[in-house]
C-alpha cells in the first residue's frame, strides 16, 4: 500500500512541472510588457529597466521560467500588481473559504447522490427512478451561473429566506452557494451510482447471496454498494475538477471571498502574478484530491491492495 501511495506521489511531480510550464507559457502569450503593467505607462525608463532586471524579464524565456519556478518552490509568487501585496498572502487569506465551499458541496453531493442512485437502481423504471434520471440530466445541463441567479431570485428576492451574498453571519450564508456548486456533482454521482449498482446487482455473487436468503437490505448495502463504490469514488475525484471550475463562477455570483473570485478579479485587472498563482494552486488542489481518491480506491479495492503489497 505504501509502495502504491509513494508511486502515485512521485507521478505527480512531473505532471506538476508540466503544468507549471503551461501556466508560465500561457502568461507569456500575453501581449505587453509586464514591467509597464506593474508600474504604469508613465513610469520612467530607468525604473522600468530596474524592475525588468529585478524580475529577470530581460533574460531568455527558459531562464525566466527557472527563476519563476525557483521562487514558486519557496512559495514566493511575487507581488500582486493591483494591491502590491505578496501573492502568497492574498491566496492564503482566501483559500480557506474556497476549500470550505468545495468540501461542503462534495459532502452534499455524496449525501444526496449516493442514496438517490441506490434507490433508483433498486427500483428501476419506477417513478422514483425516472424522477432521479430527470434530476440527473437536468443537473448536468444546468449552467452553474444561471442556477445561482435563479436561486437568488427565488430564495433571496422573492421569498426572502436566504441571503444572496457574503459569508459571515452563520450557516444561512452557506446554503445557496453550496447547493449551487454541488448540483452538477449530485447529478453525476447519482447517475454513476445508479449505473454501477445496476451492474453489480446483476452479478453472480449477488444472485448467490439472494439464493442463500440474505436480506435485501444487507445485499444492497453490504454486498452491492461496497462494490459499486469504486467507480463512484473515481467520479467524486473527477467531479472535484468541475467543482473548482464551478467555484470560480459560484464565488463571483455570491460574492464569496475565495480564490475563484480572486482569479476573476485578477483577470479583469490584468494582475498576472495572481492569475498564475491561482491556476497553480487549483492544479495542486486537483492533484491532491485525485491522489486521495486513488488511495481510497486502493483501500476499497482489495485487488489493487494485494498487487502493491
Amino acid at each position: 500500500m505504501i509502495k502504491y501511495i509513494a508511486r502515485r506521489i512521485l507521478l505527480i511531480v512531473p505532471v506538476m512541472l508540466g503544468v507549471s510550464v503551461i501556466v508560465f507559457g500561457i502568461m507569456h502569450l500575453t501581449p505587453g510588457d509586464p514591467a509597464i503593467l506593474m508600474l504604469g505607462e508613465a513610469a520612467p525608463e530607468a525604473e522600468l529597466a530596474a524592475l525588468r532586471t529585478r524580475l529577470g524579464l530581460d533574460e531568455p524565456a527558459y531562464v525566466q521560467y527557472g527563476l519563476w519556478l525557483g521562487r514558486m518552490l519557496q512559495l514566493d509568487f511575487g507581488r500582486s500588481i493591483r494591491s502590491n501585496r505578496p501573492v502568497t498572502a492574498e491566496i492564503s487569506q482566501r483559500i480557506g473559504p474556497t476549500v470550505e465551499l468545495a468540501l461542503l458541496a462534495t459532502l452534499l453531493a455524496v449525501v444526496i447522490g449516493v442514496p438517490l442512485g441506490v434507490i433508483s437502481a433498486n427500483r428501476p423504471n419506477t417513478a422514483i427512478d425516472h424522477g432521479a434520471t430527470v434530476l440527473a440530466f437536468g443537473g448536468l445541463a444546468m449552467p452553474v451561473f444561471w442556477q445561482g441567479l435563479m436561486m437568488i431570485l427565488v430564495f433571496s428576492l422573492w421569498l426572502g429566506w436566504l441571503p444572496s451574498s457574503g459569508r459571515h453571519g452563520g450557516w444561512v450564508y452557506y446554503v445557496l452557494p453550496t447547493v449551487t456548486l454541488g448540483t452538477s456533482a449530485i447529478a453525476a454521482i447519482t447517475r454513476m451510482t445508479r449505473s454501477t449498482m445496476l451492474e453489480t446487482l446483476s452479478q453472480d455473487f449477488i444472485r448467490t447471496a439472494r439464493s442463500k436468503g440474505v436480506f435485501d437490505r444487507s445485499i444492497i448495502y453490504r454486498h452491492a454498494l461496497s462494490n459499486a463504490m469504486i467507480p463512484v469514488v473515481t467520479v467524486i475525484g473527477l467531479q472535484f475538477g468541475g467543482l473548482l471550475s464551478g467555484a470560480v463562477i459560484t464565488e463571483t455570483i455570491f460574492s464569496w471571498p475565495g480564490i475563484g473570485r480572486l482569479a476573476v478579479d485578477a483577470i479583469r485587472a490584468k494582475d498576472f502574478p495572481v492569475v498564475q498563482a491561482v491556476v497553480m494552486v487549483f492544479a495542486i488542489m486537483y492533484a491532491v484530491v485525485n491522489l486521495f481518491v486513488d488511495v481510497l480506491y486502493a483501500f476499497l479495492d482489495p485487488r489493487l491492495r494485494t498487487r502493491y503489497s
Binding site: 508540466g18 500575453t30 468541475g242 463562477i249
Partner: protein, 297 residues
C-alpha cells in the same frame, strides 16, 4: 427489415456488412425516446439558429428605450431587456453564436487532439509517449480553468474563447482517439493492408480513421455541450462575447443587475442554454448506448 434479411437478399454478407450496422444504429437510436426527443430539440435549435434573421420578430440589437424591462406580452413573447431589446429575438440570434462557438472550439479540439491520438496510437513509441505526457499535463488542469487561463492571457473576445475552449478540450479527444486507434490497429484488415504494402497515410485514413469514428463522434456530441456551457460561462464572467453581441452567457451577465425587476431577461437565456446542452447530452448518451455493444440490449 433486420440485418439478416438484408444479408439474405444480397446472398453475400460482405457487401452489405458496412451498410447493415448503420441501419441497425439508426433503428437503435430511434428506439430510445430520450434520444429522439434530444435529436428533435437539437434540429429545431439548429434550424432556428440558421434562419434566425427570418424568424426573429425584431432585429437582435434594436433598442426600444420606451419599452424597457417589459414582461412577456403578445408583442414581446419573452419580454424585453434593460435597453428595450426583444429577449426572444436575442435568444434566437444568441443560439447562432453559441452553436458557432461550440462547433468551432470542438473542431479545434478534434483536429489537434484527434491527430495526436491517431499518430500516437498508430505509431506508438517515443512520439506516443510525448503526446501522452502532454495529454496528462493538460488533464491535470480542469478544462474550464485552463480555458480561463488562456482567455486571461489572450484577452476577452469570442475568438479567444473559441481558441481557449478548443485547446482545453484537446486532451479528451487525444485520449479517446488514441484508445480507439489502438484497438483498430490490431485488426486483421490493418495487418492485411500493411502486408500488401499500403502506405501508412492510406492505412490511417482509409482503414483506421473510419473504424475509430464511433467513440469520437460520441465525444464530439458531449464536448459540444461542454463547450457551449464553458463559452457561456466565460461570457458570463465578461471574458467572452462583448456587448452588444447577443450571446446567451453575456445576455445573462448584462441582465443580472435587473433581475429583481425583469427576471425574464435572465431566466429565458439560461433556459436556452440548458435545453441545448440537455438535447446534446441526450443525443450523445443515445449514440454511446447505440454504439456500445455491451449496452445494446
Amino acid at each position: 427489415m433486420g440485418v439478416d434479411a438484408a444479408r439474405g437478399a444480397d446472398g453475400n454478407g460482405g457487401t452489405l456488412d458496412s451498410v447493415a450496422p448503420r441501419k441497425g444504429l439508426v433503428r437503435r437510436l430511434g428506439a430510445s425516446p430520450r434520444t429522439t426527443i434530444g435529436a428533435v430539440a437539437l434540429i429545431v435549435i439548429i434550424l432556428a439558429a440558421i434562419f434566425a434573421d427570418q424568424i426573429s420578430p425584431y432585429p437582435p440589437n434594436q433598442q426600444f428605450l420606451r419599452n424597457r424591462l417589459q414582461p412577456p406580452s403578445v408583442e414581446n413573447w419573452l419580454g424585453t431587456d434593460h435597453f428595450g431589446r426583444d429577449v426572444m429575438s436575442r435568444i434566437i440570434h444568441g443560439g447562432r453564436v453559441s452553436l458557432q462557438v461550440g462547433f468551432i472550439s470542438v473542431a479545434i479540439a478534434l483536429a489537434i487532439g484527434g491527430l495526436m491520438g491517431l499518430i500516437g496510437g498508430f505509431y506508438g513509441g517515443r512520439l506516443d509517449s510525448v503526446f501522452s505526457a502532454i495529454v496528462d499535463v493538460l488533464l491535470a488542469l480542469p478544462a474550464f480553468l485552463l480555458a480561463l487561463a488562456i482567455v486571461a492571457a489572450l484577452g476577452p473576445s469570442l475568438l479567444n474563447v473559441m481558441i481557449a475552449v478548443g485547446v482545453a478540450n484537446i486532451p479528451q479527444f487525444a485520449r479517446i482517439a488514441r484508445s480507439a486507434v489502438l484497438t483498430v490497429r490490431e485488426m486483421d484488415y490493418v495487418t492485411a493492408a500493411e502486408a500488401v504494402g499500403s502506405r501508412d497515410f492510406r492505412i490511417m485514413f482509409k482503414h483506421v480513421v473510419p473504424n475509430s469514428l464511433g467513440p469520437v463522434i460520441v465525444q464530439v456530441t458531449l464536448s459540444l455541450a461542454g463547450a457551449i456551457l464553458a463559452a457561456a460561462g466565460l461570457s458570463f464572467l465578461g471574458l467572452g462575447a462583448q456587448p452588444p453581441t447577443a450571446e446567451w452567457g453575456s445576455m445573462l451577465n448584462s441582465a443580472r443587475p435587473f433581475i429583481r425587476d425583469a427576471h425574464w431577461a435572465v431566466t429565458f437565456p439560461g433556459l436556452a442554454i440548458m435545453v441545448t446542452v440537455l438535447a446534446l447530452n441526450m443525443v450523445g448518451d443515445g449514440l454511446r448506448d447505440a454504439l456500445d455493444p455491451r449496452r445494446r440490449d
